[in-house]
């Protein structure tokens, strides 16, 4: 091959690499009308949380744990009872913060003016968030022990609608998880025999269990709490939009939703819970090249949006690897988090290293989708995420209705 041919080939290659972009499609991203957007969302497996109890039952009632009014009431009692923890000082609701009376609109002022307060200062201010989490970076349990893997508390809201639970997705039902939390030595640190004994000793619970299950058994504790968790769902502007109310979401939130679908976020954050339905690798892209765009919170202060040479070691995550958690089987496989109520469950990611929702959106786009979003796109997606924030639904719980499935 002569020099001349080589020069010609390299000329063609160089010129085409510069001009290629002129031949690609310039069609703008598809924009939907409200009704089209709804249709697209519904066809992509996104759906709303039922308004009434009958429709909820179709989703959450199972053969293994038939929901009855009494069982749910018992589960609620247990959820708020510190009896289930070794030192009798924490209940499920200590970390999965919600108030027992979800109708009350004065939770905060009542706690502030209470004469005796057993609750911690954090809880006093954050109880009224009704987020189902404690908003700590690292979960705290029995005797103030912190989670050894630096994992933070996941919300209980809507959790029964997720296919997988916990950060690595190793648990598949709320019943199993409630049992595991009671027994976990970093959480409530109890054993089955002691739970059964304590409940048997309590007149109230002895009676309630007898009425519901015939006897006190750890399995039934799990079922009762599970039954309550299955009714703990939230409805938001997003649900009203999916049901046909075009005014429920702002224009920005709708743009966010359409970007959420088009960019591919919904590929993983899907289903009724907008996540929680699959296990995926994070981060998909490592970007571990000479140019370091993964950044680190630990090194010399580089952060999202900045850029530098990768003179450091390999970064496991695009944020500080506090706790060293590596996901399922140590392969960085995580359950896709549910995005419902995400705006009230900061800090973000499994070890809580990211404080602000915008930063989390930027990281997810960059590392899972390989995209650099514009400021406007981020704003819109954040606005959409805000529209997923909702209040706990007050179902009119009745017996006699059954899930026919």
């Amino acid at each position: 091959m002569s020099i001349r041919t080589l020069a010609l080939i390299s000329f063609i290659v160089i010129v085409s690499s510069f001009t290629l972009s002129y031949f690609t499609s310039k069609k703008p991203k598809q924009s939907y009308s409200d009704d089209e957007l709804r249709k697209v969302a519904l066809s992509r497996n996104m759906s709303s949380i039922p308004k009434n109890y009958k429709d909820l039952l179709k989703l959450v009632d199972t053969d293994e744990n038939r929901l009855t009014k009494n069982k749910i009431a018992l589960g609620k009692e247990l959820y708020f009872d510190p009896l289930l923890s070794k030192n009798k000082d924490i209940s499920c609701s200590t970390c999965h913060l919600i108030s027992k009376d979800t109708k009350s609109k004065t939770v905060y002022s009542e706690l502030l003016t209470a004469k005796t307060n057993k609750k911690s200062d954090c809880i006093i201010c954050h109880m009224s968030d009704q987020s189902g989490t404690d908003r700590q970076e690292n979960a705290i349990g029995h005797q103030g022990l912190e989670n050894p893997l630096h994992l933070n508390t996941l919300t209980t809201l809507n959790s029964s609608l997720a296919k997988y639970l916990t950060w690595d997705g190793s648990v598949e039902s709320v019943e199993n998880q409630s049992g595991a939390s009671i027994k976990d030595k970093y959480k409530m640190a109890m054993n089955e025999a002691e739970v059964e004994q304590r409940l048997n000793n309590s007149n109230k619970y002895h009676k309630l269990f007898k009425q519901n299950f015939g006897e006190v058994k750890f399995e039934y504790v799990q079922k009762a709490i599970g039954a309550y968790l299955r009714t703990l769902t939230t409805r938001s502007a997003y649900d009203r939009f999916l049901e046909g109310d075009n005014n429920a979401m702002s224009a920005s939130a709708k743009r966010g939703l359409s970007n959420f679908i088009d960019f591919g976020c919904k590929g993983c954050h899907t289903g009724i819970t907008v996540g929680g339905q699959s296990i995926q690798k994070f981060p998909v892209r490592d970007y571990n090249s000479i140019m370091d765009v993964t950044n680190s919170f630990k090194d010399n202060g580089r952060e999202i949006g900045s850029f530098g040479f990768n003179d450091g070691v390999y970064h496991t995550y695009p944020f500080e690897n506090k706790g060293g958690f590596m996901g399922q089987d140590g392969r960085r496989l995580f359950r896709v988090p549910m995005l419902r109520n995400v705006t009230k469950t900061s800090p973000y990611f499994h070890n809580g290293s990211v404080m602000k929702i915008r930063d989390a959106v930027i990281l997810m786009a960059r590392h899972q989708l390989g995209m650099s979003l514009t400021s406007q796109q981020i704003d819109d997606i954040v606005e959409f995420l805000k529209s997923l924030e909702g209040d706990i639904v007050e179902y009119d719980i009745k017996d006699g209705e059954k899930n026919e499935k």
Binding site: K105, Y108, S109, C125, S128, E146, I304, G305
Partner: protein
Amino acid sequence: MKNSTLYMKLSIFLMFSSGIFQMSYFDVSWGYFRMIQAIHILSSIFVAVFILIPYVNKHTYKYMVIRKVNSISGVVLGIVLFLLILSGAYLFLLGNRGGDEIGIAAFNIHLYGSFILLAALLWHIKEKAPNIVAALFVILFIQSPSYSEEIKLHNIQIKEGFKRYHNQDWTNSAKCKSCHEDIFNQWADSNHRHMAGTNPYYMVMENLAAEDMGQEFRLWCMGCHNPSAVTTDKIRTAHAMDGNNMPGIIFESGSKDLINELKVHGNNRLEEGVSCVACHRILKTESKGNSSYTLDLTSREKYVFEDNTNGIRHWLGEKFINSNPKVHKNSYMKDIYKESSYCASCHDEFLPDSKKAVVSTFKEWEKSPFNNPNDKSKHKTCIDCHMTKLQNGKLTPLKGTSTDGGTIKDDVKVHYFSGSNHFLSGMKSKEHEDQTIQLLKTAAELDVDIRENKIFVGVKNIGAGHHLPTGVSDFRELWLDVTLYDENSNVVYSSGKLKEDGNLDSDARVFMKVFGDKDLKPVGLFFWRYEKMISDTRIPAGERRVEVFDIKNLKDVKLSKIIVKLNFRIYPQWVTDIVKNAYPQLTNPPVVELERIEKDFR
């Protein structure tokens, strides 16, 4: 003649309507406003010169000179019209520039005169229509403009026209420290720094307001307390976290958290609260309502590399500024910063819907003898007391520099922002506590007298250019502590002592205002529910208030001594008790003795 009368009426109506659409009441958008204004001015000149003046001349001549008709309404109409044309001409030729009184008068004559003109015209046409005139007045004047005004929780304007700023448009205040170290350190422990996420009382109040009035009501508080968060679209004030713990915000001095954040994260993270640029990039303030100021962060003149936070570029950036700092100085220091009205946009507070004044510190100052622009020696603005160094109990302007290595100034404006809150800043720095208490002690003067079986205690506000106390004086305690002794030094009478639980005894004479709701029930912490004032015992600037204590039952007791103290406590105990539920590490604010007077009768 008939036709010309019709044209007359039409053209007056046109001028009137195009005129009133310029009123702020209608709040017409700028695009329309400028057109309406131009149409109004140009058409008015045309109408006045070619139609109105000739017609009125002819008309007056015809009826008053020839037919000798005696019409009062006609005379009134003529006078009003004359005034309107005169004021209109003045406004057009010289304008209402704010500086000359005639301009302001012309504006008001032109505005209100136009209503009177319309009324007089109707009267003149019908000669019998005083009731129509009255009705018109009722509709136009009695109706309160606040009906149509949109309720705005905050009034911050972004001059560049953006919807919101980016985090990086704000500048971490610690960045200013490298050249303005003294000023930074003064500000770092001051109450202007600790007004949002680091202030326990504020955080409790913001959360309480959100619960009581809805989440978006937070913006009403945040407009002044947290401008950086409002302008970056944050919906609530956040506090910093260090892992699972809240950093020791109450006792940590020097704003080390900010310095550290700048070191670790550069300028990426938002500094919540009132930062250096929040005040030093305000272009304009108005007294329209809460936080009515205009910010301009992005179009400031920046030197090359000014934004870099570390490395060689940062170093170069500082050198560039220092080699010729004039532009730097001009872009962060405006003349309005020295005026009291600058402080008014936050230190006059209004409820968002009823526009009721909650705090009126600036208005109090305006009416006080401290506001005396004609006599410069008596004129004292906000910064003459609150940004001037105190030494030995006296305002002593500090000679020194505000920039490291800068020119020596005779009166460096210190950034302690001493006011009354010695407590929160004092827990971080003794110097702040000292400055504030010195200032507090210059405020009042006591006198005492006993006659006719009564104790007379006079308290005179001698040092404050506003009420004593001002600000959130519904949460301030300034009271008289009186102790009366008999011959054997036994206490025979006392008032204003603390109860065992730390609260002030109900017999205390407290100088404060008490807000009530519409049924005159005290609103307590929920001060945004204020509708009616229950009591107001504050002492206006320069005035003396006399409190009388009845001691009839001590007629036969031989008295020996009386001690009267003027005590101050920044927050009542019951307020601190509530805040302590959410912030258990908080301590109780101490009682500060501002004045003390003793009188011996032996």
